[in-house]
């Protein structure tokens, strides 16, 4: 049965891939958290540098995209709510979908495009130029040296970016609310705040942290898997983006389900 064999082989490959991601994440976690105890130096300057490029430099594009998404949500929501005569609910619809789902997800997509691909390209180029080999001959572990600062930067920046994206999305929804649904900026913000509970924001932030881990692990893994030749770097970069998007959506599904079934009724 070649078809069943193919499925089996694909499943094993998939599990091995996820296993590789877990090993990378575990190694980086050891470098980040156990390193000070073991006396090894983790270069905070490198983590700060990464945090700047992952987080701070992404603010303009994340702001713009989440503002637009907020407006789109308001328009789509209003289309249905208007027929029910419940246009005033548009504020809470935007607030809940942004914080629980689209804030973290849109941020993740932007970060994949900007940083996940950059991680794969950076490590892939280093692999092709024998720089990874050079690190090893200098008794520097690539995981400590390259991967750990990236994880640290992601863990810090993803929740920050997501919170900012939530806020910009609410503003985007507010633009519609104020111009078309009879809100003022003040009443729109009040409606938003009364619609949200802490749990909404927290579930979004937990997701964003998980997305950050996935994006870093996939980006670095694809970088290390780069073959010989510089054209392979492009292949790794593309593959990092595609696999990260898939993995982020899969993780999103799992966590959304967990949050749904554990939610207080």
């Amino acid at each position: 049965m070649p078809f069943a064999e193919d499925i089996g082989a694909a499943t094993i490959d998939g599990l091995a891939y996820v296993g590789g991601l877990a090993r990378l994440t575990g190694g980086a976690a050891r470098a980040v958290f156990a390193a000070p105890l073991g006396g090894r130096k983790l270069k905070w300057t490198r983590a700060v540098h990464q945090a700047m490029s992952v987080g701070v430099e992404a603010i303009p594009i994340v702001s713009l995209i989440s503002f637009f998404v907020g407006t789109i949500l308001a328009l789509q929501g209003a289309y249905e709510l208007r027929r029910l005569g419940a246009l005033q609910l548009v504020a809470s619809a935007v607030a809940i979908s942004m914080t629980r789902e689209l804030g973290p997800l849109m941020t993740a997509i932007v970060v994949i495009g900007r940083s996940g691909s950059a991680f794969a390209a950076e490590i892939g180029t280093m692999k092709v130029n024998e720089e990874i080999d050079a690190l090893e001959t200098m008794a520097l572990e690539p995981i400590n040296f390259l991967v750990a600062p990236k994880f640290l930067a992601m863990l810090l920046m993803m929740p920050c970016l997501t919170t900012w994206a939530d806020f910009m999305g609410v503003l985007g929804g507010g633009l519609f609310g104020v111009t078309n649904a009879g809100f003022t900026w003040g009443t729109y913000m009040n409606a938003t705040l009364s619609a949200l509970v802490l749990r909404d924001i927290m579930t979004g932030l937990v997701k964003s942290v998980m997305f950050g881990l996935v994006i870093t692990a996939v980006g670095c893994q694809e970088g290390f898997a780069t073959g010989l030749g510089s054209e392979q770097v492009g292949r790794s970069t593309t593959s990092a983006v595609v696999k990260s998007i898939f993995m982020v959506i899969a993780v999103d599904l799992v966590f959304t389900a967990i949050f749904y079934f554990t939610a207080p009724q």
């Binding site: 950076e122 024998e130 720089e131 050079a134 090893e136």
Partner: protein, 277 residues
């Protein structure tokens, strides 16, 4: 055979290779190599492309795992030692890669200073002085703030040598140190190798196919051919060698063409495997 001996004594060879085999997948590249390099000796490994000399070098610095045999560095079994011991040993080894392998995101100075910053408790001012000393030794004074991308191929190579020297290694490995350099700079690198040997008593292992440079720097030469050692002699005696593979390499005689017309036809039509090495 230094069997069972775990601690290094001063008279241990710097490198001892016993029946070393390395394979990539199914293909064996090195078929049981034996040699030693004494401390302070400069050993040149010669061989054409595909001879396995690069694989041998990568195995010696621990980038490839041997599939058989033993590798002893300073009297310690390099393949079987615990990871932290291997790391300590690596700090005493320097490797200069063929293309330089400089870190593109760091300046030349940061590249050279990196091992010192990561592995030693030295003060920053000391590290900077050592970094400038090393750059001066390879003729790159004043280039510490350049990015690797701004350097020519030869300069990259020299910067890589400076980085390999940063920790004052006891064993230095060079992969094709003068390939692709203009003759004056290549001669400068040969001279640097000779000076290092004299001042620091470093064990030096050079992989190259440049004969002139090899005869200048070598205390002993090893000629590799298709994964076997065909000569392991002093430069004087290798020049007098009558062994056909040695003569072929030294006298630069090209490979003979495929024997008969039948073989040739089979090769062209794909009926016989092209590589029968």
């Amino acid at each position: 055979m230094p069997s069972g001996k775990e601690s290094g004594a001063p008279n241990d060879p710097a490198i001892a290779v016993r029946n070393l085999r390395v394979q990539y997948g199914q293909r064996e590249i090195l078929h049981g190599i034996n040699f030693e390099a004494q401390a302070g000796e400069t050993l040149v490994i010669l061989g054409g492309s595909g001879s396995g000399k690069s694989t041998l070098l990568r195995t010696l610095v621990g980038l490839e795992k041997p599939s058989g045999g033993e590798l002893w560095i300073r009297g310690k079994n390099f393949a079987s030692m615990p990871e932290n011991e291997r790391k300590d040993l690596r700090k005493k080894m320097g490797m200069s890669f063929q293309g330089g392998a400089l870190f593109g995101s760091m300046t030349v100075g940061e590249n050279v200073a990196l091992p010192l910053r990561e592995h030693t408790p030295l003060d920053e001012s000391t590290i900077e002085i050592v970094m400038r000393l090393k750059l001066d030794q390879v003729g790159l004074s004043g280039f510490e703030d350049y990015m690797p991308a701004q350097l020519s191929g030869g300069m990259k190579k020299r910067a890589a040598i400076a980085r390999a020297l940063a920790m004052d290694p006891e064993i230095l490995f060079f992969d094709e140190p003068s390939a692709g350099l203009d003759p004056i700079i290549a001669a400068g690198i040969d001279e640097l190798i000779l000076k290092l040997k004299k001042a620091f008593r470093i064990t030096i292992l050079v992989v190259t196919h440049e004969l002139a440079s090899a005869f200048l720097i070598a205390d002993r030469m090893i000629l590799l051919d298709k994964g076997h050692i065909v000569a392991n002699e002093t430069p004087e005696s290798i020049q007098k060698s009558r062994e056909p593979r040695v003569r072929q390499f030294l006298d630069r005689i090209p490979e003979p063409e495929v024997a008969g017309e039948i073989d040739y036809l089979q090769m062209l039509t794909g009926e016989s495997p092209p590589l029968r090495r």
